[in-house]
Subunit: 337 residues, 2 copies
């Protein structure tokens, strides 16, 4: 296990490698010579330069693109906070294995390898309204599973999640670390009704009240109010940073999972871009808090890395232009007057 | 030529085939049975249903996807309204033929056949500040070129343009048909400086003043203030509607090109979706006037159908989910409580 204690993890977040600004500058210069008005490909130019920065290559590549979906179960599911019963977590894991879920189709279309990692689904976290969701050891074990899921040399990475009740967990992390309570951070998730929405808010507020003493410590919050699949996503995000692998952040739960890292030290998520703004009410506010601008606004709210996979298409489009277009000189096209 | 007179064209816009609501309803029902919370794929669900409606199939296909870029030259280019010299139109057409432009890369990645149709580049339209840009006959000839560019049985179509000075033309069409003058509708196009921006506004206002008498007639406006590549795009849009081919509208110039059709009769563009909101200032207001919500917001402003090609990736992603995902029953996943 790379991090034996939470303090080891805290220390790692203070000594991270940075992007390659020389490669980014070379990629920027290349963009300005391609046969188009400078800047006219908008975010597609930014994405190519972002890849160049983190891959350390003027002309990046997307040969090894990887998506990992982590699954976990949650004690608070028993509190009626989801529109679906908790057995759906394992049923969807089986659906991924059979190739029938949205992420199977989107990952294949985006040219990404898909791995699904269920984490002790038969052992949900504790109900965080009555106890810490996990012990520090359980958290670190799940974090490590995510950390090991990122292979060095990956060109682009994304993670996603499946876990009935985990939008409530994500809301609890946001409320704990950003303030505002259930009122501010709870949305309908997979589609709870009005009564379910009230229950979700109450559960979040009860969790915050129960763990009032540790709210100033981002990792303690991730342990007490988080979940195994969220811990694994945080582990994957940190591993990607250590290996300088660019990451597309999926939706609300994935973004909430890495919030504790962002609160540990500034810049920990500099290698990440928000793939999309989901329809989950609080996702926009969470991305604002993370200082991230989403690439897509498609009203998606499925999780399982589907938003990230959709954004991968844009990244591939960006790279096709960046690596493949002719320069003004190549093509004999007159430049700007 | 399918339309011998402008009146023939007007009549055609009043007798158009509609989408297949039965196929759309079947596709909607299918979406609600797939293994995801209903609605959770957001716009990806809408896009699949849109394809179903216009293709008339519960499970649409994207085997024949086509992009056509029309190119034209403009008398008003001599007025210093562009950051690039007018010879760039022909140079970019050569670049398309050589495969070096952004649209070459994006069309290939989107799995679309790309055709480029230059329209009498050696004969620019007249300067609309002093004369009508075209005669009705010239307009109809260009319209016909676009009309014939859409093959019946195409599964998804997009058109784009290349024509130095054509954002000024597009602004003139908007100002003529929607009001507000150059101030409201002129932006920087390929990147004119402040003085160029002032010239663009003056040229638009002079054009409106010169043709004051015909501003109530959308087709007369397209003749007097338009351009050949814009006429061709309008022709392609109408042909697509007649053949029930769904269309992704590209950026500001492509959207302005079809505005006269939209003003002829309500619903003419029901088969079109706006691919993106470009960085060209007035595009958002134009899409509002067309009653369209853009799929992407990437800050692109290149034209040549690049925004439409990017959106095609989303349409393909939508269809991969729609046609490929398992249903709740197939996968043995519990439905919503």
């Amino acid at each position: 296990m790379p991090f034996a204690t939470l303090d080891d993890l805290r220390a790692a977040c203070r000594a991270l490698p940075h992007g390659n600004e020389q490669a980014a500058a070379a990629a920027t210069a290349r963009q300005n010579n391609l046969t188009k008005p400078p800047g006219s490909l908008g975010l597609l130019e930014d994405l190519a330069i972002w890849l160049a920065r983190w891959q350390g290559r003027e002309r990046p590549r997307l040969d090894r693109v990887s998506i990992v979906v982590f699954a976990g179960n949650h004690g608070i599911a028993a509190r009626g906070v989801s529109a679906f019963p908790p057995e759906v977590t394992a049923q969807m894991v089986a659906n991924y294995a059979a190739g029938g879920a949205a992420i199977n189709k989107l990952a294949a279309f985006a040219g990404a390898k898909l791995d699904v990692v269920p984490i002790t689904l038969d052992r949900p976290t504790a109900d965080f309204t009555t106890a810490p969701a996990m012990s520090a050891e359980e958290f670190l074990k799940a974090f490590d599973i995510g950390f090991r899921a990122v292979e060095p040399g990956t060109d682009l990475f994304a993670f996603g999640e499946m876990g009935i009740a985990n939008t409530t967990v994500a809301s609890a992390l946001c409320a704990a670390l950003l303030g505002g309570g259930g009122e501010r951070w709870v949305g309908r998730g997979t589609g709870v009704d009005d009564a379910g929405l009230v229950r979700k808010r109450e559960v979040v507020d009860a969790g915050i009240a129960r763990h009032r003493g540790i709210l100033g410590d981002p990792l303690a919050v991730a342990v007490a109010l988080g979940g195994r699949e969220l811990a694994a996503m945080a582990g994957a995000a940190l591993a990607a940073r250590i290996h300088r692998v660019p990451v597309l952040l999926d939706g609300f739960v994935a973004s909430a999972a890495v919030l504790p890292l962002a609160r540990l030290a500034p810049g920990v998520l500099d290698h990440c871009r928000a793939a999309h703004a989901s329809a989950e009410t609080a996702h926009g506010a969470l991305l604002d808090a993370l200082g991230m601008t989403p690439l897509l606004h498609l009203g998606m709210r499925l999780g399982e890395a589907t938003g990230a996979a959709a954004a991968m298409l844009l990244v591939r489009a960006a790279l096709a232009c960046h690596n493949g277009m002719a320069t003004f000189a190549d093509a004999g096209v007159a430049e700007k007057i």
